[in-house]
Every structure is written in structure tokens, then in C-alpha cells.
């Protein structure tokens, strides 16, 4: 749940990048970290583990400026995607305000994407949160693979698999090059801050 500090006039929101293993969640955060002005971002926290998997989580705090006199501070988290790290994934979701679901376009990962979305729905339910009511953006990553011989899913297939009922905004991305990364961040921040303001702030003030 977002934290609103009325004495310092700050709003803290938590956005989690979710998705199957190796879909590019950490890559999104790394790109944002490298591209943003040091004034507006904090230190990126990565728990150092051998190999390129996220074992626990990554964290990147950002400053998004002021809205109605309130400083908007966002904390971006990633979860470990691999199926076996279910407990840690659930821990990171605690207190989440907005979600980016990163989907892997590799045809062999078709089922993994669907399983990951179901896992997200179930984990949120355990915290009494409903995915259908959460700020959520879909990101279809690694679009550069579509031009290679590697078998990939089309946008229509990804939409059909993941977004048919949710009907959320989606962005095509090549996170490693930065394409679509800030578009995704902008949209999820907008949705999250809006929801937090409507839910907590406007009733508090």
C-alpha cells in the first residue's frame, strides 16, 4: 500500500515488474537507472548472486516530481521469475501499488508467460488484492527477435494469451536498447499515482 507522509508532503508508491524468468525485468530497471539523471533516481539495489538471475529482488527508487504540492516517489522492484522462487516472489508483491507484466515473446515461453500471469493473480489474491482492479501495464519485450529466425509469438498471439480479458494498455519493447522502457514506466506511473490519489489522498485531504 502506498505510504503518504503528510508532514513531509511525500507519496511513496511501489511498482513491481513481474514476469517469467529471463523475460527482461531487471534489464528494464537497468536501462532506467542508466538513463535517468542522478538527481531523480536513487541507488539501484541488486542482491548480488552468481549468474544473471534475480534471486531476491532489484530495487530502484525514483523521484517523479511534484503533483499538487506532493513529492511523488516511486520504488521499482523486480521479482525473481523462475518458478521455484515462488515464496520470494510473493514477498516482493507485499504492499504493491502498480504492476508491469513483462512478457517473453519466445514461442517456447508461451506457457511460462501464462503461468506467470496466473501466479501473479493468485499471489495478489493472497494479499486480498484483485488483479482486475490493479494499475497494470503489459510490456511485450524483445521485439527485435521478431526479425530473426528464432520462433517468436506475434503481438496478436500475446494479446490473446495474456490480455484478452484484462484489456490493459500494452507496449512493445526492446528493453536492452531502451525501446518502450520509458513509455511503459510513464504509463504505469500515471495509472498508479492516479489510483493512489483517488483511493487515499483525496479522501485524506
Amino acid at each position: 500500500m502506498a505510504l503518504i507522509d503528510l508532514s513531509k508532503k511525500e507519496v511513496h508508491c511501489k511498482i513491481v515488474y513481474y514476469g517469467a524468468g529471463r523475460c527482461g525485468k531487471t534489464t528494464n530497471l537497468l536501462y532506467i537507472y542508466n538513463a535517468m539523471n542522478t538527481k531523480n533516481r536513487g541507488k539501484m539495489l541488486t542482491i548480488d548472486t552468481k549468474g544473471d538471475r534475480t534471486l531476491f529482488f532489484d530495487l530502484l527508487p525514483l523521484n517523479l516530481g511534484k503533483i499538487s504540492g506532493f513529492d511523488i516517489r516511486i520504488q521499482l522492484y523486480t521479482v525473481p521469475g523462475q518458478v521455484m522462487y515462488a515464496a520470494t516472489r510473493k514477498l516482493v508483491l507485499k504492499g504493491v501499488d502498480g504492476i508491469v507484466f513483462v512478457a517473453d515473446p519466445l514461442r517456447v515461453r508461451k506457457e511460462r508467460n501464462k503461468e506467470s500471469l496466473e501466479d501473479l493473480r493468485k499471489n495478489l489474491k493472497d494479499y486480498h488484492l484483485n488483479l482486475d482492479e490493479m494499475p497494470l501495464v503489459m510490456q511485450y519485450n524483445k521485439r527485435d527477435l521478431a526479425d530473426t529466425p528464432i520462433p517468436t509469438l506475434t503481438i496478436a498471439e500475446l494479446e490473446d494469451d495474456l490480455n484478452k480479458e484484462l484489456k490493459r494498455k500494452y507496449f512493445e519493447a526492446i528493453a536492452i536498447k531502451g525501446n518502450g522502457v520509458f513509455e511503459t514506466l510513464k504509463e504505469i506511473s500515471k495509472q498508479t499515482v492516479h489510483q493512489v490519489a483517488v483511493k487515499h489522498l483525496l479522501t485524506t485531504l
Binding site: K43, I47, P61, G95
Partner: protein, 122 residues
């Protein structure tokens, strides 16, 4: 609410020589930050890691048939850190040097735990 809890923490812990006191929730949000300045300590990362640490410890507890471990302590060369749960959703982090005894810190935390819990959880 925050002012009242700050007073309790300053009187009980900061005045006893504790370097830093952070009161956070189990999602890693900072409610109270006392002691060292932002330049000296990265409180946001510390809070996120502490929440994760206690979450992971709770899972370890379950694996060996315990409900939870309520205290965690790490000893360093120059500084020590103690994590304690307050009620269901709060975590109190204290950082202190060799000049303050762990026993004193633990006694003080036990003394104020209930007052803090009542302030935040009623």
C-alpha cells in the same frame, strides 16, 4: 501519531546511544527515520532489504516448524544491527556501536514495543 512514536524512540533508543533507528512496515516503507542523515546511510535500500530479510526469515521459520523468529541480530566490527517485529506489520531496525550493549537495546525495545504497537495498530 508519528510525532508520538518519534518521541518514544528518541527518549528510549537515541538517548541511550543508538546511532540509527528506522521504523518500517513489512512492505519496506519507512515510517520513522532517526539518527544518521540521508548522506550517511541509504535508508531506502536498508528498509527494503530489512523487510525482505525478515520475510525470508519467516519462511525459514516455517520450514523448521516455527511461526516466525521475532528477532534478528547481525554483529559487525564497528556496528551492529538489530531487527525486531512490532505487532503484525512493523519492523524496528536499530544500528549501534560497541559503546552500547545489545542487552540494553533489547530491553529498551521490549519496553517500547507495546506502546508503538498501540500507536500504529490500536
Amino acid at each position: 501519531m508519528l510525532e508520538k512514536s518519534k518521541n518514544i524512540l528518541v527518549n528510549s533508543l537515541i538517548n541511550a546511544g543508538v546511532r540509527t533507528v528506522l521504523l518500517i512496515d513489512s512492505a519496506g516503507n519507512i515510517l520513522v527515520n532517526l539518527g544518521q542523515t540521508a548522506d550517511e546511510i541509504d535508508a531506502i535500500s536498508l528498509a527494503a532489504l530489512a523487510a525482505a530479510n525478515l520475510g525470508a526469515t519467516a519462511q525459514i521459520a516455517k520450514l523448521i516448524g516455527e511461526d516466525d523468529f521475532t528477532l534478528l541480530f547481525h554483529k559487525g566490527k564497528n556496528g551492529n544491527i538489530n531487527f525486531g517485529r512490532i505487532g503484525n506489520d512493523l519492523i524496528l531496525i536499530t544500528i549501534f556501536g560497541e559503546d552500547v550493549s545489545l542487552g540494553l537495546v533489547r530491553c529498551r525495545i521490549t519496553d517500547i514495543s507495546e506502546s508503538l504497537r498501540i500507536i500504529f495498530e490500536g
